[in-house]
């Protein structure tokens, strides 16, 4: 069947609907065009303005020189990258990147004494916080903090814009020249603004009522097939319907859909390691408990690459009488069992960076 022209379809990833060379040619022509434009702009600026107009000593041509220089830099870099990508294979480029990661830069921090595991996240960032009850306190996943921040930003920007229009409309009404069309048009915008204020207020109250969740583990990193001790502490003023601690493993994939970057997540493992129903948490008496959990024997280790990841977490989740459901994540790292026998392994460099 003959392929049809598909102009308005969003392609997944790096798939192509046509040959490779027209794209390379177009990219090369664009980069060369930018380079030539930048070079001509620089020549024109120096020869026609800076040299001939030197007596007037205007300052702006010196500032404007940034524009052609940026074009030259961008065009030249793109051309070199294109040549490198065209002339070399994927493996050769990846090997060059791999080799570059082994260079020791002067003044750079010394490598960790722990065995380096390619494509496995380094543990040092997670083990620098000792726990009160157990060996390590786990940091909370940063995503939960971003919810409040995003809500606050949206609320502030939306209501600031709406306020400008509302002030204008109110002024028109006060002056006896009301614009009723604009007034009625503003109603849904004002309602949306009020809703963002309500949602933000609820989020702030939720954060205040929920207090803090603290999770600690007896050892870190975790290894498949081993049993570990965990500790969770929950503060706040809450009537809890149910509260659970879960060990969760998720696959994460980032891909391009047309010009959009999308992320997909798939949960591949979940087990409840602690569960309790119907209890109270008061500001005077935080909820605290210890629990045991086992990492499955044939579990995939934590894996991180620029576009793909396997992520393990301890998740505190529950349902409160007033505030509904909540979920807080605490990433943990599962290392492969082979990391337990470092003497059996070769001295390899950290990999995982994309060499494309």
């Amino acid at each position: 069947m003959a392929s049809r022209w598909r102009l308005f379809i969003k392609k997944r990833g790096s798939r192509r609907t046509g040959a490779r060379w027209p794209g390379l040619l177009a990219e090369g022509a664009l980069s060369a065009g930018l380079l030539v434009t930048g070079a001509y702009g620089l020549y024109w600026l120096i020869a026609r303005v800076l040299v001939s107009d030197s007596e007037t000593s205007a300052w702006w041509p010196w500032l404007a020189i940034v524009i052609p220089l940026a074009l030259i830099g961008y065009g030249a870099t793109n051309l070199l990258l294109l040549l490198w990508q065209t002339a070399t294979s994927t493996e050769r480029r990846a090997a060059a990147v791999q080799k570059a990661t082994t260079w020791e830069l002067p003044g750079a921090q010394m490598k960790s004494t722990r065995p380096a595991l390619p494509a496995v996240p380094p543990i040092d960032a997670l083990t620098d916080s000792p726990g009160v009850r157990l060996a390590y306190r786990l940091p909370i996943d940063a995503a939960s903090g971003w919810v409040s921040f995003t809500m606050a930003a949206v609320c502030l920007i939306w209501n600031s814009l709406v306020a400008v229009f509302v002030v204008q409309i109110v002024r028109q009404h006060v002056e006896g020249e009301p614009n009723w069309l604009l007034t009625w048009l503003m109603v849904p915008f004002v309602l949306a603004g009020l809703w963002t204020l309500f949602a933000l207020g609820r989020q702030v109250l939720f954060n205040l009522a929920m207090g803090t969740t603290c999770v600690e583990v007896s050892d870190h990193p975790l290894f498949p097939g081993r049993i570990y001790r965990g500790f969770v502490s929950q503060t706040g003023r809450l009537h809890v319907r149910w509260f659970q601690m879960q060990l969760v493993c998720e696959e994460q994939a980032v891909y391009q859909q047309g010009t959009d970057t999308r992320r997909d997540t798939h949960r591949v493992f979940r087990t409840t390691v602690f569960s309790q129903r119907k209890f109270e948490i008061t500001p005077q008496q935080a909820f605290q408990t210890e629990f045991d959990f086992t990492v499955p024997e044939h579990a995939m280790h934590s894996f991180v690459a620029p576009h793909n990841a396997v992520v393990w977490s301890l998740v505190a989740r529950g349902r409160m009488v007033t505030w509904g459901d909540f979920e807080r994540r605490f990433p943990v790292y599962v290392y492969p069992s082979s990391a337990l026998q470092p003497q059996a392994l070769p001295p390899f460099a950290v990999a995982g960076s994309r060499g494309l």
Partner: protein, 132 residues
Amino acid sequence: MTRDAIRLTLDSPTARYQAGERMSGRYLVDGAHGFGVRSAEFSVLWYTAGKGEEDMAVHHFERLVDETTRPLDLRVPRRFATVLPASPLSYDGHIVKVCWCVRLRLFLSQGQETVTEVPFQLDSIQTTPRSD
């Protein structure tokens, strides 16, 4: 040149290796094709498959170039060996897969190139589960 002319084989018949294990094998190009190769790149690498964009990293890389002083004759079998790393282990997930392979890329005199690869499994060293 067809892919059938390229022979890339691993010494292990099961193509399963454990982290830290030595992997070896050999490659050659059959008949008259073996002499028309401008350069050859042999690599041991992992790449991701599945829903996300492809990530890849090379663990071992060799590049052989046809020179007047040292002509490249791939009709003679060439052996390779490397000690495999501790990670990432082979993984067949739902939207993320980690695949290991040995790959031979040949650049021919006419400007064409041909690629052959042999997949293998990298598994973890089995340990006895115990509690802390």
